[in-house]
Amino acid sequence: MQVYADNAATTKVSQTAIDALLPCLTDKYGNPSSIHSFGQAASREMENAREIIARCLNADPKEITFTSGGSEADNQALLSAAAAGEKKGKKHIISTAFEHHAILHTLDKLSKQGFRIELLPVYQDGIVRLEDVEKAIGEDTALVSIMYANNEIGTIQPISEIGALCKEKGVPFHTDAVQAAGHLFIDVKVQNIDMLSLSGHKFHAPKGSGVLYVRSGSVPLVNVIEGGAQERGKRAGTENIPGIAAMAAALKESCENLDANAAKVSAMRDRLIQGLEQIPESVLNGHRTNRLPGNVNFCFKGIEGESLLLMLNLAGIAASSGSACTSGSLDPSHVLLSIGLTHEVAHGSLRLSLSEYTTDEEVDHILATVPTVVERLRAMSPVWESMQKGK
């Protein structure tokens, strides 16, 4: 049995997305900037997609900018808000310690340009506190950027409350909703979100298209990619029409089925959590229920994450880990360290991320396999041996 349990990394492309994509390859293949009928057909396809996506977010179509994905949207959001802040002498940006690197590395860049970056703690449960945001906001705050849901541990942040607070304080609010879009409720008006990033391939569209939503009149966009006048001159490059059409169709489908999918997927998630926590010396990472419907993240003490992934892969299970060996650096995931895990424990992390395509049989296979693999790795682990002797 082959089980794909890495949906936080990327998802299978849905039939709905494929059906929307194919005509853009075969018939509507024109360049939307061209004035002939081929170009105009492509342009209509793109504007239709923009309207669909705007409706899903409760935004206006002109507030939607297409990008190559979540990272580009995050970069552009931060750099634009920073530029707008700088003009008003505001050089303070608030974010959190466990953001995606698309945010953290852009903030590093801004820090070198003289911005004061304040990364708020996310505590053991992986949730930022509203009062910390409130305390951090000052006269010179140019932006608050807090992710909607964390990509590794799945914890959901109090976005509506932070949005209301930022509105009251008159500070622009950006949220990286890459993991949330298509999976959690989003209404940019109700939630007072000024800027939002999302990525199509996290909700069953192909890789290579994303969206930056910016509320009209909030933050003027600064170009990250210079060139032609696409996207009202704010994002050059011929638009990825097949990707955009597929993303719109996939987001619409996900949003229409949001509650049903969440109920189905979170039931499987909870069954996995309850099963895996029977393994001795296992720790669930992040809040037990206030997390993405499909996210399960555990640490198993005494074993190392890459070994675990290799063994699971051989048993047909595709998962991910925040261990140093899988991150390609010396340190385990910054997300796991931000919730207070030691290096020792963080090395043994396992993320299983489900989708509505996951079946109960697949969950059974995971539940039957993980304990055996953990036991096998512990049998050859000197760390586990020392832990046992120390008891």
Binding site: N313, L330, P332, H343, P382
Partner: protein, 146 residues
């Protein structure tokens, strides 16, 4: 396969040779540390200057397990005069290569063997042969520099 490991590496990872402990070992070496994410413990049984038996336990990635396993195969039944010359390059070669970012794991395998030999010579009160020195102090930056 993940990380582009060769079939031989995967074989040594999934069916590691000589896993375990030797209760009455003549030399035990442990190298690596938890911060780095790789720890190897090597047990040697030595008779008449020959490695009569060897066992290991490893906490680490696929390459760490596979290099430990291969290192034990390379030294089992060998005279100490040969064992002290074990290099990480020989372990990597025997495995048919490792992905570039994983070569550092093979350094740990060599060091684990040498740490066990150090323990053996020290326990016996014998002079240390050239190339055998006290195991690393836990600063694993030199092993783990990617």
């Amino acid at each position: 396969m993940a990380m582009n490991y060769s079939d031989l590496v995967i074989d040594h990872f999934t069916n590691p040779r000589n896993v375990g402990e030797i209760p009455d070992a003549d030399g035990i070496g442990e190298v690596g540390n938890m911060k780095c994410g790789d720890i190897m413990r090597m047990y040697l049984k030595i008779k008449d200057d020959v490695v009569e038996d060897v066992k290991f336990k490893t906490f680490g990635c696929g390459a760490a397990v596979a290099t430990s396993s291969m290192a034990t195969e390379l030294i089992k039944g060998k005279p100490l005069s040969e064992v002290i010359k074990l290099t990480n390059a020989a372990v990597v070669e025997a495995l048919g290569g490792l992905p570039a970012i994983k070569v550092h794991c093979s350094v740990l395998a060599e060091e684990a063997v040498k740490a066990a030999l150090y323990d053996y010579y020290t326990r016996k009160g014998l002079p240390l042969p050239e190339g055998i020195e006290a195991p690393c102090n836990g600063d694993c930056a030199h092993c783990c520099s990617h």
